[in-house]
Each structure stands twice: as C-alpha cells, then as structure tokens.
C-alpha cells in the first residue's frame, strides 16, 4: 500500500495539467449539486427563522365568504379559551382603481385591515411609519407598481369603488412577499373602516375573509388548532398554524430542491463520463510506464491501485473545487430567484451539503475511472521490449469488468434514489439515463457500421477522409456522441417541456378573440355597460349570467360532514399522507360561480351523458340536470346519475349529474365548472360577465376608465396586460430553470473537449503524416471539419429524437397536457450544438495543423 500511495503521488505531480479535464468534469457537476442543496438548506433554515413572520400571526382563519354565525361562535370560543388573544381581521378582494387626476384604470388586489396585523414581522413603507397609520381611515398604502401604472404620486386620491382615498405611501417590503404575486394586480392596503364607503362588497363579488390571531405565549396554537379545526372546517373556514405552514412550505421547497438536485445530478453524471474519457486518454499514454512497472515486478492489482488512487485524488480535488464554486454560485442564486421566494435568504454555506458534494464527487470519479482503468491489468510487460503484435484485446468475459460495470450502474441508481424526491422516481430517473445512453451508444455504433457499409466513395477526398475517421481504429465516435448527445438530450428535453407547459399559459389572442372582459355586472347595470361599449365602438356580446353557489351535499352526504371528517386524520410528522377517501376538500369549500345555458360553447366537448341539455327534461321531472367539467367530476368523485345539492344564496337547489364536459381552459371564453340548463336558476340572484375586443391598447384603457367611473363595482380586465404579467412570471421561472441547465451544458462542453481529446494523439500522428505527404493546413482542417460536422449532427439529431420522446412522455402523462414541437427553435438548437462540436473540434485540430511535422515525429 505505501508503494501505491507513493507512486500515485509521484505520478500525479506530473499529470495534474493533463488531468485538468478530469478535475473540471467533476468540479462543474459537484458545483451544481452543492449550490442547489446548500441553497435549499439555507432556504429551509430561513423558512424556519421567518415562519411566524410569514403567517404574521399564531393562527390564521380564512374563508371564501363571510364567516357564518357558527364560524364566528367558534372563533369566540378560541379567543375565550386562550385569554388575552389578539384578533385582527382582513378582507381581500379584487377591484378597479384609478387616480382621478390621471388617465387609465387598473385591476388591484385590495386588502382591508382591521386590528394589529401583522403580529409578527414588519411591513416597511415609504415614507416610513405608514403601516402604523393604516388604521386611520381615509388613506391607503399601495404597491410601487400601482404608482407607476397609474402615473400617481403619494398624496393623490385613489378612486376605489365609490370611495376616494389618499395614497399615503408605498409598501417597500413585507414578510412572505413573493414579488411575482403582485404581477397580476398591484396591491392596495386600506383600513377596514373605509370598506363600506367603497360599496364594493356587493352581491356576487369575490372576497376572502380572514382572521389573524395572536395567542398568548402560554397557549399552544397547534393544540387549539386541532381542537377547533373540525367545527371550523364544517363552516368552510380553514385554519393555519405557523408550525404546519412551515412544515408544508419546507416540504415543498425540499421537493423543489430535490428536482433541481436531479438536474444537478445529471451534470455530475456527465462529469463521470468526462472522467471516463479523461482516464481513457491518460491510460493510453501510460502504457509504457505500466509495462516498466510490470517488468520491475508490480502486479496488475498494484498498478491498478496506483492509477485508481490517482483518479480518486484528482476526483477529490475536483470535488473540493466544485464545492468552492458551488458555494459561490449559491451566493448568486438569490439574485436569480429574486421575486420567486417567500423568504429572505441569508447566504449560509451548508456544511452537510458541502460534505455530500465532496463524497459524491469522489465516488463518481472513482466509479467512472475504474472501468477504463481495468485495462492496465492487461498491459503486457513485453511492451518494453518491442511494439506489441496484434493482441486479442481485453478478454471479453473478464469478471472484474462485469463487476465494475455493475458497480457503476448501482452507483448511478443509488445516487439517483438518494437525490430524487421518491425511490420510484429515482429508479425511473436512473433507468431513463441508462436508456438514453444506450440509445446514443446504439446510434453511434450504427453510424460507424453504416458508414463502413455504405461509404460515400464518390465524395471529394477531404470529406471522405474526415468521414472515414468516424469508423477507423481509435475513432472517437462513441465517446463524442455519448457525451455531446447526452448534454444535448438534457437541454432539448428541458426546452421542450418548458415550451409545452408555457404554451398553455399563453392566452389565445387571435385577431377575432376577445381581449377585454367585464364581470360583476349587476342586472340593472347591463344596459348601461352595453351602451358604454357601443359608444366606444366596441362589439357587444350577449352577457353570460353567473350564479354563486356552494355544495350542500354530495350523493346524500353533507359537505360539512365531509369537511369536518377530512381534518381528523392529520398525519403524524414524517408519515405519508394516506390516500384520500371521498372528495378533495377544496371542491367542497369553494364557491362555485356557475351559469345556465342551453348549448355547449366552442371550447367544450361532451365526455359523457349525451346531448346538453338532456332533451327529456323538464318534462321528465326530478332534480335539475347539471353538466360538470370532467376534472372537477374526478376530484368530486361523481359520475353521471349522482346527486348534488346546491346552496344558492340560501336557497336549496337539488341537482343530478347528467353530463360531463371537457373544457379547453386556454381558450378565452367564459368557461365554467358547473353548467345548469336554462330555467331553475333564472330567478336566483346573479351577476353578468361579458366579453369584448379592442385592438388599440389606448382604446381599451379608455373604456376601462369610463366603465369604472360609471360602474365602480364592475371589473374590467385587459387580457394583454394579464399576458404580460404572466410572461414576466414565466420568464423569471424559466431563468431559474435555465440557470440549472447551464451547469449541464458547461459539463457537456468539458466532456466534449475530453472526448475530442481521446483521439487527439491518433489524429496528431495522422495529420503529421499527411503533412509530410504534402497536405496543407487548410486541407487538414477541412478533414477535421467534415468529421466534426458529421459527429455533431449525429449526436444532436439522436439527442433531439430522444428528447422529443422523453418530453412527449413527460408532457402527456406527467403534466397531462398537449404536446407540440416548435420546429424552428429546435432546428436552431441542433445547429448550435453542431457549431459547438465543430468549434471545439477545430480548436483542438488547429494545434495539430500548426505544428511542424518534424517536431511531432521526433516526439514520438
């Protein structure tokens, strides 16, 4: 052993520069891994620290409607049990706001505050002290975005419904603030005392009612929560605690971290390929040294150990470098993720994450180095006496080789399982990687065979020479295709999935699609709104009625009972959620905004139940038939023929599921979960929604302003603005994802350089001989060009094919969405990858072409 260590140390002194590729391959992957896991750790630590400020209270109650008398009673009981409890109430709703002094109007998210919210954490304003004065009626605090959108100044009056409130300042920071949240509508904070003056909480408007409780320190909020949750749930009031919020947020962040960790793991495994190719090259140049050592009496095992120790040591060096880079990147991550995170993340290196990165890097380096290193055992000492005759090559059924292969496969599976959110996804991930590598390998081998068989013998000499390089002895086809193809496969898959998911966020804004939506129109405002639209020269559509309702009972069982029961089996910490029996709670808690009509719209498709509305009804009698959207039906657990009883503003309306629909939500139409036939709801209290279209954004802005001035409760949404907001959020998320993919690309490039280097010495000899025979530098470069164009095309085309398959599967079955191929962008990716290959290839060949023949021949 001491000899092995001494020899390994002496050898690596000289090879450090040559093995820079190995070090770099490992470093990039480990950097990604450490950056992600250390960042996730800091994030979770920050959540722990800021959890109370995130909620702003010890307990929070929330409901989609005003608390029922029973819910109010329950709240009183909580306060009575924990003496000294402080209560603050919030009402949140959407509304139109404008500044009378300027033009334009904006949909805003209003929060009306009563009491000392937030009890924990601070809301900073400019000018300072604004939040403390919020209780004084007559003024509001707004998001900076609103000030710029409405061209307002602090001190201006803001029109909100019927009220005119002074803008007292802007909110600069608040705990738990995910900046992108305000993208869909800037926030306005007001005192609850001004709520009535706005006149906005009229019939049909959507609002969320919340109560925040500060419990005296002696009481246990979780115990209170567990005791009162069932009764509150039955009244459709949810109850949140700091510890449960923290737990679920950390779980979410942890899962997110693990998905990103998988992306990082790909970079690590790519790095492993880089190690394998670097070692492969290294060993080729060490054959003579190995032979001498064998001559001097070193056994195969000793020589193997000497080089394995070297590879491991270099792997460790690379890992250490990776850890350092990873922690550096971690410091930069909060900037990339800015606006997406609910907590302020302090930079704190996570030592467990660093140690894990070091370990993973070392292990991957050793496991991937082992396979190519095994061949040193078979180097004949005879090499020192003369160049070897043709050998049989390495024994095909070398059990040690098979063992090393198995070890490598097991390592990949183990790493994937450790990193993945679940064991199954880890194994699936490893299988996916294995499948992709196998397919790439098969493509490379097939290309070599096909070229040999159908060689383009009529091509000009330089192209023939270059293409022939792909199958001649010591070719680099397999290695380059694997390394490059795998990197490209990963990037293409990410790109395709992203494209397909984001496409669904794209509102269909074709030339004749509506782009202006007006809702909460009261029956007596219909004529006025229509007149306003006509005056502006905009098309007017038949308004669609909306009736708010809630589910009272489902298949004969009361919704309240379902909800109360649903809170009981709270899982113990660490235990997995048991499969839910019965309907998903949100389907029972929510307020449904249903409509009635006698036909399907163009964005709907019948799934079950035949014609809509059922032709026999109402002659057939019985409860009203309803059509339910198919996803909701699944969540509710209802089928055609099941009974659902509705509470429509206090009136009980029985119904029977008669029809299931598929709805294309991306089509901008008034789409509904639940549709009644005309008749039963016509007398119910209702509001209307209508659509219109104006091409000129200024016209839309003017109409919005006119409508809000005349009908303050009517909300107008400009779809173009929504689209812009969505695009902003999406590009933020996409940036974070691309940032991760970048690591894989970087590793891919390192591996590519390594792969090209594998055949470099062979090429060097060939090029020199060609030059001796009279080839010019240009001709040598053109031969290389042909070779690398072919390699790049093959690798990137195979990768694209694989990525299309993988992305199709992911989009279709995991995200359950439609799959489409963006042909133009994809061809650009293919070209970019070919260009990268050629660039790296030519860069390596340039040196070959530059060297005078004699120098190289002498060095031989």
């Amino acid at each position: 052993m001491p000899f092995v260590l001494a020899m390994a140390w002496r050898e690596s002194r000289a090879s450090l520069r040559r093995m820079a590729l190995l070090v770099a391959s490992i470093a990039v992957g480990v950097a990604a891994l450490v950056a992600i896991s250390s960042f996730t750790d800091s994030l979770q630590e920050s959540v722990r620290e800021q959890a109370r400020a995130l909620l702003g209270a010890d307990l929070a109650l929330g409901s989609a409607s005003r608390f029922s008398p029973r819910a109010e009673e329950e709240l009183k009981k909580v306060v009575g049990e924990a003496r000294g409890t402080d209560v603050s109430r919030l009402v949140r709703f959407g509304a139109m706001a404008y500044v009378p002094r300027t033009t334009g109007a904006r949909l805003v998210q209003v929060t009306a505050v009563e009491g000392g919210y937030p009890f924990y954490g601070r809301i900073e304003t400019r000018p300072p002290g604004g939040w403390e004065r919020l209780g004084e009626a007559g003024g509001v605090l707004v998001d900076p975005a609103l000030v710029s959108a409405l061209d307002a100044n602090v001190g201006d009056a803001l029109a909100l419904g019927e009220a005119r409130l002074a803008i007292r300042g802007v909110v600069t920071s608040m705990p738990g603030d995910v900046a992108v949240r305000s993208a869909l509508g800037p926030r306005v904070f007001m005192s609850a005392r001004d709520l009535d003056a706005t006149g906005l909480l009229t019939f049909g408007s959507r609002a969320r009612y919340e109560a925040y409780l500060k419990i005296p320190a002696a009481e246990d909020p979780l115990r209170l929560a567990l005791r009162h949750r069932p009764a509150l749930a039955a009244e459709r009031v949810s109850l949140r605690t700091v510890s449960e919020d923290e737990e679920s947020l950390n779980e979410t962040l942890g899962r997110l971290g693990r998905y990103l960790g998988l992306v990082a793991l790909i970079a690590v495994l790519l790095g492993g390929l880089g190690v394998a190719s670097a070692v492969h090259v290294f060993i080729k140049r060490k054959i003579e040294t190995v032979a001498v050592l064998r001559c001097l009496g070193a056994t195969g095992g000793t020589v193997l150990a000497v080089y394995l120790v070297q590879a491991a040591a270099l792997g460790l060096l690379g890992s250490a470098l990776g850890v350092a880079i990873g922690l550096g990147v971690q410091a930069a991550l909060p900037m990339v993720m800015a606006g997406l995170l609910p907590v302020e993340v302090r930079f704190a290196p996570s030592w467990p994450a660093a140690a894990a990165g070091l370990g993973v890097g070392l292990w991957v380096a050793a496991a991937f180095a082992l396979l190519p290193l095994l061949s040193v055992r078979h180097v004949s000492p005879l090499v020192v006496l003369r160049r070897p005759y043709e050998t049989d090559g390495p024994k095909r059924r070398d059990p040690v080789r098979i063992l090393a292969g198995a070890l490598l496969a097991a390592s990949v599976v183990m790493l994937a399982v450790l990193e993945a959110p679940s064991r199954a996804s880890g194994v699936g991930f490893a299988l996916g990687i294995g499948g992709a590598l196998l397919a790439l390998w098969a493509a490379a081998v097939a290309l070599s065979l096909a070229l040999r068989r159908f060689f383009p013998s009529r091509w000009p000499y330089l192209w023939r020479q270059g293409v022939a390089n792909l199958y001649r002895p010591a070719n680099q086809t397999v290695m380059v295709v694997l390394a490059l193809g795998f990197g490209a496969f990963l990037l293409d898959t990410l790109f395709l999935v992203q494209h397909n998911l984001l496409r669904d966020l794209r509102v269909d804004a074709g030339a004749d699609r509506p782009n202006l939506v007006l809702f909460d129109i009261q029956p007596d405002q219909r004529a006025g709104v229509e007149a306003e639209l006509r005056k502006a020269g905009l098309p007017v559509r038949e308004p669609v009625p909306i009736v708010p309702m809630r589910i009272l009972s489902l298949k004969g069982q009361s919704a309240g009972a379902f909800l109360a029961a649903g809170t009981v089996p709270r899982r113990a910490p660490g235990e997995r959620r048991t499969p839910r029996a019965g309907p998903n709670p949100w389907t029972l808690r929510r307020e449904y905004r249903s409509t009635y009509r006698g036909a399907l719209t163009s964005s709907e498709k019948t799934i079950a139940g035949g014609e809509w509305p059922p032709p026999g009804w109402p002659a057939s009698g019985g409860p009203a038939p309803v059509s339910i959207e198919k996803e909701l039906a699944t969540e509710l657990g209802v089928h055609v023929g099941d009974d659902v009883v509705w509470d429509v503003q206090g009136r009980i309306v029985p119904s029977r599921v008669a029809h299931l629909r598929e709805v294309s939500w991306a089509r901008f139409e008034p789409n509904f979960f639940v549709v009644f036939p005309p008749g039963p709801l016509e007398g119910a209290p209702q509001s209307f929604v209508t659509l219109s279209r104006a091409d000129d954004p200024q016209v839309r802005a003017r109409v919005q302003r006119r409508i809000v001035e005349s009908f303050p409760n009517v909300t107008t949404i400009d779809l173009a603005q929504v689209q812009q907001a969505l695009d902003r959020i999406v590009s933020k998320v996409a940036l974070a994802i691309r940032f991760m993919a970048l690591f894989s690309l970087a590793t891919g490039a390192v591996v590519l350089v390594g792969a090209v280097a594998t055949s470099r010495y062979q090429r060097l000899r060939e090029a020199v001989l060609l030059k001796t025979l009279g080839a010019t530098r240009g001709q040598i470069l053109r031969i290389a060009l042909a070779e690398y164009v072919a390699l790049g095309l093959l690798a990137s085309a195979t990768a694209l094919l694989l990525a299309t398959g993988a992305a199709w599967g992911l989009v279709r079955y995991f995200f359950e969405s439609r799959f489409s191929l963006p042909a133009a962008q994809l061809s650009a990716t293919v070209l970019a990858i070919v260009a990268l290959t050629v660039l790296v290839g030519l860069w390596t060949s340039a040196e070959v072409a530059r060297k005078p023949p004699l120098e190289v021949l002498r060095a031989e």
Partner: protein, 247 residues
C-alpha cells in the same frame, strides 16, 4: 572467447532436485505470434541452462528472436511450448501476478531505451523495485548508495528528461541492481549510446555484476560487447545456430 565453466548443465534431463540446479534453464522453448492472421514462428525449440553467477550473451541479427527469448526467460510472456525455470521455479506454473512477484524478488532489467518512468525522479526510479517489495526505508539508503556508485550523486532529484542518455542508462543500472537481483536481463544496453558512454555503462554493469554475483543475460548484436560474456548463444531465424558452451 572465454570457455564456459565445467559446471554448465545444458542437458534437458538435469533434475530440479540437483544441488547444482542452474539459475536459469529453458527447455524446448517455442514461440509463435499471430501476424495479419498468419501464425509466425519466432523461436524454435531453444534449450540451454545457465548457472548462478554466469554471464551469457545472446547474439544474432535483428528479427532473429533475441528479444522474444529475453522476454520469455524473464517471464514477461508465456511460450507457445517448452518451459523456463528461473531459480528453481517453473514460470509456466505461475500466474501473471506470481511471475511479477518473482521478478520483484529476483530479476533486474536494463533496456536499450532505458525505460525510466518519466514522471519519477532519478532517485524515485531507483527506489521502485525495493518499494514494490515493501522495503521503503531501505529504498532511500540504497538509492543514495547506488546514485553515488553510478556517479550521479546530487542528480537524484532530476527527471529522466533532464538527464543525458548515458546518465539515464546509469540510473537504469542503479534501478536494476537496487534490489540485488539474482538475474539481470540486459537488452541492447548500449544500443542508444555513443561508443564512449556505452563503454562506461558496460564497465559499470560488469563491476556491479562482479560485486553482487548476479547472473547476467545480455542481448546484443554488438560483437565487442558479446565478447565480454563467458558464453555466447547465437540465434538465427528463431533457432540456436551456435552455443559457445557446446562448442
């Protein structure tokens, strides 16, 4: 030419139990290689024995099979037929690794192109054989001693690339003798050196050989060099055409 001593055993029937068992013995050695799919016989039925402390030169034109014979005698390769017994051990019964261990114990090498390990310093190259046997402490002292012996004291920290050909071969000699081998194989040790340097190297080799009583097997096509051996075996086309001991 110096006649071979009377104790030479060259009869194949010499018993392994004989107290006068030769240091190196080969019987009916035959070697073939595949070349371009055809079998090529490079050694045919070679038989001879060499007593401990003996000095034999194997001569012949290039391609006559000298290096192949050397490789087989040192256990670097397995013969197609026949056997080699080195210090009483039949190489044919040993595995690749067992032969390596035997070399570490008993065998030293000097090559035409030196074959120093380029990534090791001169001193480290000399230390390798002893270190392979696990004698690290002894290795340093022995390296100092041998560096001085070959006239390279103070050059121990130089890498092979920083040494001249003659210096490299002197380091190789020091390496070959570092573990006091029973047998030294030298393959054209002066082939890459000019006459004067070659003479120095040969002089050193003879001295070390005398001091340690090493059995010496020298492959060369230099008649002057061969003339220093006590026995000469001449090969042509893979067969022994002349053995001075038999003459």
């Amino acid at each position: 030419m110096i006649p071979g001593p009377a104790t030479t055993f060259d009869a194949p029937e010499a018993s392994v139990l004989n107290v006068n068992e030769p240091m190196l013995r080969c019987e009916s050695l035959t070697q073939t290689y595949l070349s371009g799919g055809r079998e090529l016989t490079v050694l045919k039925n070679i038989t001879f024995a060499l007593e401990a402390g003996g000095f034999i030169a194997i001569v012949g034109p290039s391609g006559s099979g000298k290096s192949t014979l050397l490789g087989l005698l040192a256990g670097l390769d397995r013969p197609r037929a026949g056997r080699v017994v080195l210090d009483g051990r039949d190489l044919g019964t040993l595995s690749e690794d067992e032969r390596a261990r035997l070399r570490a114990e008993k065998v030293g090498f000097v090559f035409q192109s030196f074959h120093l390990i380029p990534t090791l310093t001169a001193r480290e190259n000399i230390q390798v054989p002893l270190e392979l046997r696990g004698e690290e402490a002894a290795a340093r002292a022995r390296a100092d001693e041998l560096l001085a012996r070959v006239g390279l004291e103070g050059r121990g920290h130089h890498y092979p690339a920083q040494l001249s050909g003659g210096e490299q071969q002197r380091v190789a000699l020091a390496r070959a003798f570092s573990h006091r081998p029973a047998v030294l194989f030298a393959d054209e040790p002066t082939g890459n050196l000019d006459a004067a340097t070659g003479a120095t190297v040969i002089g050193l080799m003879s001295e070390l050989n005398r001091e340690l009583g090493t059995t010496l097997v020298l492959v060369t096509h230099d008649p002057d060099l061969a003339a220093r051996a006590r026995r000469i075996i001449r090969l042509a086309d893979g067969a022994v055409v002349h053995d001075s001991a038999a003459a």
